[in-house]
């Protein structure tokens, strides 16, 4: 179990190697910031996925019971789906502008604002879907199907609202001054926003097939 010291010379053979270029400390820190905030967002995405997986399994357990009914989904949901998917596209356009053009910040901020508007439109659309159901006399507690529908769509909308807040902040930073703009902020917002789209498509299919 014992070991021996052979020299006091520093040996970094197994230490993490220094980045190739002699980067300024600021750049190094920025790299680290980008990396850990990216880990953070992916871990968050994972946790949200897990929560909705739990709701899904609850739905499967509940599906087998006697009072399971059928729910005709409001048709505005199809429009909402397109709106949310389009917003992912506009956010990608913003990324394209940021990456490709030297003076792309202004154009990028326009695309981010458009994404923001589409996101808001989605939320309004979801609200409209709830009103449509209410008009038919279908409330949260009417039957298990409506319970799951309101619950899943509401929780998804809540998460979208968090995304909208991030977009507002991002747009603000882009419009105000691009020197203090953090790339990681954009990248992480984009990951989250696309995830909202994917999650919605999944939930929509789930509702469509099971409720």
């Amino acid at each position: 179990m014992s070991s021996t010291i052979v020299s006091t010379m520093s040996s970094q053979a197994t230490a993490l190697s220094q980045p190739k270029s002699a980067a300024a400390p600021g750049a190094l820190l920025a790299q680290r910031t980008e990396r850990y905030s990216s880990s953070g967002i992916w871990v968050g995405v994972f946790a949200i996925t897990m929560s909705f997986a739990a709701f899904t399994s609850a739905l499967f357990v509940r599906e087998g019971t006697a009072d399971w009914a059928h729910l005709v989904l409001p048709s505005i949901l199809y429009v909402n789906t397109l709106v949310l998917l389009a917003s992912s596209g506009t956010l990608e356009m913003a990324r394209h502008r940021l990456l490709s053009e030297a003076e792309g910040t202004r154009k990028a901020s326009a695309w981010v604002l458009l994404t923001l508007l589409l996101g808001l439109a989605f939320c309004v659309g979801q609200y409209r879907a709830w009103l449509d159901l209410r008009a038919e006399g279908i409330y949260l507690a009417t039957n298990p199907n409506s319970s799951f529908f309101y619950l899943l769509t509401f929780l998804h909308a809540l998460h979208v609202c968090a995304g909208i807040l991030a977009l507002v902040y991002l747009a603000g930073r882009l419009v105000a001054s691009h020197t203090t703009f953090r790339r990681s902020l954009f990248l992480n917002t984009a990951v989250y926003w696309h995830f909202m789209g994917v999650l919605w498509v999944y939930l929509f299919l789930l509702c469509r097939m099971k409720l």
């Binding site: 179990m1 993490l16 949260l140 203090t180």
Partner: protein, 593 residues
């Protein structure tokens, strides 16, 4: 230049003013201490509740002075009613499992030491970190409110099985508003824990110092990291379960409550829900929660034993892999809590197998600890005593798990004191021994002062012997057929065994009183203790390279560089018998030695 104006989120300004320094602190060390303080308050509350329960169990007519002021309905004239006994039990379990066993070993010590042990200035997201504590604190306030409402705390136990937890006041006292507060509190707690887990994972993955590869992280850092992965999954499932419970209670939905259910002569206005659904969701969280409680302690005592033995474990890698496999398997065993819940008997078999499999990594861990201790020159102090005590509790409490994992034996033992004894030893006391060990070991670093060793050893021996006196008889009582959650045993078939219960109650009072020695030691040492050096235990990991207590930014302006595996003890030729992780001395294992 764009980059130079970037201010990384994890480097925050030195805290100024009382509020920023002690209340809404962004400093992971202060947040760790806050978690520790919350756990300390919760553990003493929970302990006093258990005293009240034990007293009521054997002397049901005993008047407890002052208790009537807490609840005039639950304890008229200071005499605990059967229903209030259940309230006390629910609050004891909830406080202990959530606010002590989750907060103390994981959130408190993890927050304080994980960033330092990997050489980081702070957690990845200090603001989230602050939020996670204050959200958890809010959850505690909401839970404690249940004591002060006329309804009283809920009587559903810490598992809050549906449908009784979902139907409101018909289910008994405390089940209207008290139960609502419970559901809300646990939902809030989940959010706090999720934020905490997210922070731990991002920090471990990305804020390690130069040279700190994953396999160079100390074992307890690994334990906190694995625990945070478990917590992320577990609390992400408990949160939906609580949301569904709240909806059933307050929005008229029927997720858990079946149709035609009659409670207190009233048909409940629900239809078609599944009571098993709550159990599935709850135990999918609940079993991993057991490992959230114990894994950090496993890491902590490994860390402390290595330091006290002055030599590494037989294999640190195997310890880490064993902890990982325990974490992984913990998600496949939740059904073993439900053998008698009406599941398909085949699924009982399917859950029994991974449950028994989990004993393999657990046994490997135990053998590594014992094998490393064999022939070692262990230094006995409060920390290492509690570490040894952990192993003892883990083995003694774990062995009964073999029995409970068999569906056929569990039919008899289910919901008896055998189960209560099992989980109190293996999850409760073992995990707390890890917390005690951690406190005695790291207190010098946290406060800059040493704890009193004599009091520490006294605390250990009373607690160690007392715990066995309390929980070993639980197993025998369970075998006799003593059902859990019954309020007293003086006038039923258990009457001949009331002597056992009296013995347990007296031991519980003594062992509980011994915890005040710990509290005194903690507070006295904080102000009057012997000043601690930077590295009082001659330890090797990064937290011992910085002053005690550490400055707000941990390493000052330095960025530590790591050259070694974490536990270079028993090294020949160095100044001491150890080489610290950030020392550039090169260490090569001597061949054939």
């Amino acid at each position: 230049m764009a980059e130079s104006s970037i201010e990384p989120a994890h480097i925050h300004a030195p805290p100024e003013g009382f509020i920023r320094k002690y209340v809404f602190s962004l400093d992971h060390k202060m947040i760790g201490k806050q978690y520790f303080g919350l756990a300390l308050v919760a553990v003493f509350t929970g302990m006093i509740l258990s005293w009240l329960m034990r007293i009521h169990m054997v002397w049901p007519a005993a008047k407890i002075p002052g208790l009537q002021f807490l609840s005039s309905a639950g304890a008229p004239g200071g005499v605990i009613t059967p229903e209030y006994y259940l309230s006390l039990m629910t609050m004891h379990g909830t406080l202990m499992v959530f606010f002590v066993l989750t907060n103390a070993p994981f959130a408190a010590f993890g927050n304080f030491f994980l960033p330092i042990q990997i050489g980081a200035e702070d957690m990845a997201f200090p603001r989230f970190n602050m939020m996670s504590f204050w959200v958890t604190f809010t959850a505690w306030v909401v839970l404690m409110l249940a004591f002060f409402i006329p309804d009283g705390p809920p009587i559903a136990g810490w598992t809050s099985y549906a449908p009784l937890s979902a139907v409101g006041k018909d289910a008994g006292p405390g089940m209207q508003y008290g139960m609502s507060l419970w559901g809300l509190s646990i939902a809030i707690f989940c959010i706090g824990s999720l934020l905490g887990a997210l922070n731990f994972i991002a920090t471990t993955l990305d804020l390690r110092a130069k040279g700190m590869t994953l396999m160079r992280m100390p074992i307890c850092t690994w334990a906190w990291f694995i625990t945070s992965c478990i917590a992320l999954l577990a609390f992400a499932v408990l949160l939906p379960a609580c949301i569904l419970l709240i909806l059933d209670r307050h929005a008229g939905t029927s997720f858990y409550v079946p149709g035609g259910l009659v409670v207190s002569d009233r048909v409940q206005p629900h239809s078609g829900g599944s009571p098993l659904l709550w159990q599935h969701l709850f135990w999918f969280f609940g079993h991993p929660e057991v490992y959230i409680a114990i894994l950090p302690s496993m890491g902590i005592i490994s860390h402390i034993l290595i330091n006290s033995m002055r030599k590494p474990l037989l294999s640190s890698k195997v310890v880490i892999y064993s902890m990982m496999s325990i974490g992984f398997l913990s998600y496949m065993v939740w059904g073993h809590h439900m053998f008698l819940s009406g599941m398909n008997p085949m699924s009982a078999l399917a859950f029994s197998f991974p449950t028994l499999t989990i004993t393999i990594p657990a046994t490997v861990l135990t053998l590594i600890w014992l094998g490393s201790l064999y022939g070692s020159n262990l230094q006995i102090n409060s920390a290492s005593l509690f570490a040894l005590g952990f192993i003892s509790m883990f083995v003694a409490g774990g062995v009964s798990g073999f029995f409970l994992a068999q569906p056929s034996i569990d039919i008899y033992l289910h919901a008896t004191y055998f189960v209560v004894g099992h989980f109190h030893m293996v999850m409760g006391v073992a995990s707390l021994f890890g917390v005690f060990a951690a406190t005695y070991f790291w207190f010098p670093k946290m406060s800059g002062r040493m704890m009193n060793e004599t009091l520490g050893k006294l605390h250990f021996w009373i607690t160690f012997v007392g715990t066995y006196c309390i929980f070993m008889p639980f197993h025998y009582l369970g075998l006799i057929g003593n059902v859990r959650r019954y309020q007293s045993f003086v006038d039923d078939f258990m009457a001949p065994y009331i002597g056992w219960h009296k013995f347990i109650t007296i031991c519980a009072l003594i062992t509980g009183a011994a915890q005040f020695i710990f509290l005194y030691n903690l507070i006295h040492s904080r102000f009057k203790g012997k000043p601690a050096s930077d590295n009082p235990w001659n330890a090797t990991t990064l937290e011992w390279t910085i002053p005690s207590p550490p400055p707000w930014n941990n390493f000052g302006d330095k960025h530590p560089i790591v050259y070694h595996d974490p536990f270079q003890y028993g090294v020949k030729g160095s100044k001491g018998d150890y080489v610290m992780q950030d020392s550039p001395e090169q260490v090569v294992p001597a061949s054939g030695d």
